[in-house]
């Protein structure tokens, strides 16, 4: 426990005080939850009929379809953004100044523009005709590709210099060095961060509602607005159900990040995977989205 070093093993007095705090804290938290529940109850939000809509096969299929469309976009955008990130990262580390320069400008620019605006502009047709799905996939690819490229770059930079020198000394060409020495290690060490950014990609698919792509949130809004029960719109219920789905998806992915991180830690070979959080270079360059950290490490304070 990270906190344990910040305070002493409590003595009798402190134990009493902590107990009081605990009780007050519990009461406060429970009170808050209870109050919200009471208000929900008071407004009739716990009525069985309002929740009954999720018992209908039609509504369930509707949700499943939406879930599949969300996952489809996520899968496409995830794969494309990683491929794009590799390309951008190679360009960013190129020996040719113009190529490097173009990559820097591109990455900086698209990380500073809200993804919503990129998607909207793509959909309206800034690059020619595009269906909502592809506009969403492309928008997510560009934005997340830029962020992932910076993550990869941080990974490449973390590979010890000696390895590159050794590879050159063996007579490998630059392509070979990049492909067989730098990238495998960069990907391995940055895998947790990469997966965390994938969680962001997953959450951002919800921006598709703006361009009429029928993903989870889009269908949530339609269900909430079109299925009144006794004149009450089931907004609360839909938000809870869809919120749970999103949180479950994201936690599952975050868990994967954690799992990979631990696997990496256990094995002795190669360099240790970094903690799943923004590398400093990325943060300093500005304009990255936040990678949800799957429970940050306890760092120096760890016992």
């Amino acid at each position: 426990m990270s906190a344990s070093v910040l305070f002493d093993v409590p003595g009798p007095k402190a134990r009493v005080r902590n107990l009081i705090y605990s009780v007050v804290g519990t009461l406060a938290v429970l009170g808050l939850v209870g109050w919200v529940c009471y208000r929900l109850y008071n407004k009739g939000q716990f009525e069985g009929e309002l929740w009954d809509i999720f018992n209908y096969a039609g509504i369930r299929e509707n949700i499943l379809d939406a879930l599949l469309s969300t996952l489809k976009v996520f899968a496409l955008a995830g794969v494309f953004s990683l491929v794009f990130a590799v390309v951008l990262c190679v360009a960013r580390l190129s020996d040719h100044k113009p190529v490097r320069w173009v990559a820097v400008v591109f990455i900086d620019l698209f990380r500073s523009i809200p993804l919503l605006i990129t998607i909207f502009a793509l959909w309206v047709g800034i690059l020619g005709e595009m269906t909502p799905m592809w506009a969403l996939v492309l928008g997510l690819t560009i934005y997340n590709g830029c962020v992932q490229a910076e993550v990869l770059r941080a990974g490449v930079n973390a590979v010890p210099k000696g390895q590159v020198e050794a590879a050159y000394a063996l007579g490998l060409r630059k392509t070979q060095v990049t492909a067989s020495v730098l990238f495998p290690q960069a990907v391995r060490s940055m895998l947790p961060s990469i997966i965390s950014q994938l969680v962001v990609t997953l959450k951002d698919t919800s921006l598709g509602f703006m361009i009429l792509y029928p993903e989870l949130l889009y269908s949530a809004r339609l269900i909430a607005n079109n299925t009144p029960v006794g004149g009450v719109y089931p907004t609360v219920q839909t938000v809870i159900v869809f919120g749970a789905i999103y949180i479950a998806l994201c936690l599952a992915l975050a868990w994967l990040a954690k799992f990979v991180e631990q696997r990496g830690r256990r094995s002795k070979a190669g360099i240790v995977p970094a903690e799943a959080k923004e590398p400093k270079e990325v943060a300093a360059a500005g304009g990255t989205d936040l990678t949800p950290v799957p429970d940050a490490k306890d760092g120096n304070l760890k016992d």
């Binding site: 499943l64 269906t131 009429l212 004149g231 719109y233 868990w255």
Partner: protein, 303 residues
């Protein structure tokens, strides 16, 4: 490990969501739209054969064997999609079926697409939909971007308020009141003018405005009377429509700019069904149910 527990819970929720999709109650969830459409009274439209119109859009549609029609999904009695059966119903939907029949497409060959108000011009001009039939007011601003056929119906902007509302009785009494409408709608621009002086709340769906009205977040919702009557009928005893219409909203069918042949074919189709009585039958079976009085269809000007 705590995190594993969370992850396990997440996996459980996901599994639940997946299994939940199979089975469940049949039929439509929520309030039964019992009075929304009179299925038996709906006219049958004879599907034309071998339609030859010199239109690029139509030829493409014939090639793919489906016509893509943009519609609203959240306007009871006009364009409404039941979220559990995924079926569309309403007056606009009937108009769409009439036109599609004359263009050689049976109702089964119509691919419906839900299009929000703010996105209509873009979807039509991009070609995401072949026809846009969804309470679409013909005006000069829009005519710069797309073409219309019609009008097939004449609506006027009005106000929807809570049943107990006394202060708002018409457009002249909304000064300083919060009025909700959606981005890109015509009544919104009107009610903003200093003459009326309302405080405007902009959302992206009318149904969300209605939800906010029921919650007391706004004092009134403004848009075309036909739409408002639908919501009032959907929430009997809670909402009412007040005031005389304060603008002209002729509804047309939105088409890609420059496709004169299709425009003429659509206009002819509307005229034919207005003359043979299908129009009135369809009206009585759908929009008429909300309490809107039948009006003789307006002269077709866009053809």
């Amino acid at each position: 490990m705590k995190f594993h527990k969370t992850a396990a819970a997440a996996a459980a929720v996901l599994a639940l969501a997946a299994t939940a999709a199979c089975g469940g109650k049949e039929g439509s969830a929520g309030d039964k739209p019992k009075d929304q459409t009179d299925e038996k009274a709906l006219p049958k439209y004879s599907v034309a054969k071998d339609v030859k119109v010199d239109s690029a859009v139509l030829k493409k549609a014939q090639k793919r064997g489906k016509i893509v029609i943009g519609a609203k999904a959240d306007q009871p009695y006009l364009g409404f999609q039941d979220q559990s059966t995924k079926k569309y119903s309403g007056f606009d939907i009937e108009i769409a079926k009439m036109i599609a029949a004359d263009l050689g497409f049976s109702p089964k060959q119509i691919e419906w697409k839900t299009v929000d108000s703010g996105a209509r011009e873009t979807t039509v001009s991009k070609g995401d939909v072949d026809l846009m039939i969804g309470t679409y007011t013909i005006n000069d601003e829009r005519k710069k971007q797309i073409d219309f056929a019609g009008p097939y119906f004449h609506a006027g902007a009005s106000l929807l308020v809570r049943k107990e509302e006394k202060a708002v009785t018409g457009p002249d009494t909304v000064k300083g009141k919060k009025v909700c409408s959606i981005v890109g709608s015509t009544p919104l621009q009107t009610i903003k003018e200093p003459k009326y002086g309302a405080k405007v709340t902009e959302l992206s769906k009318y149904s969300e405005c209605v939800s906010q009205l029921l919650d007391g977040q706004v004092d009134a919702v403004t848009t075309d009377d036909a739409i408002l009557m639908g919501y009032a009928a959907q929430n009997p005893g809670k909402l009412k429509v007040v005031g005389k219409p304060f603008s002209d909203e002729p509804y047309g069918v939105g088409l890609k700019k420059g496709d004169k042949a299709l425009q003429k074919a659509v206009a002819d189709a509307i005229k034919k069904h207005e003359d043979n009585g299908d129009y009135k039958k369809a009206y009585d079976a759908t929009l008429g149910k909300s309490g809107s009085k039948f009006k003789t269809p307006p002269e077709i000007t866009e053809k």
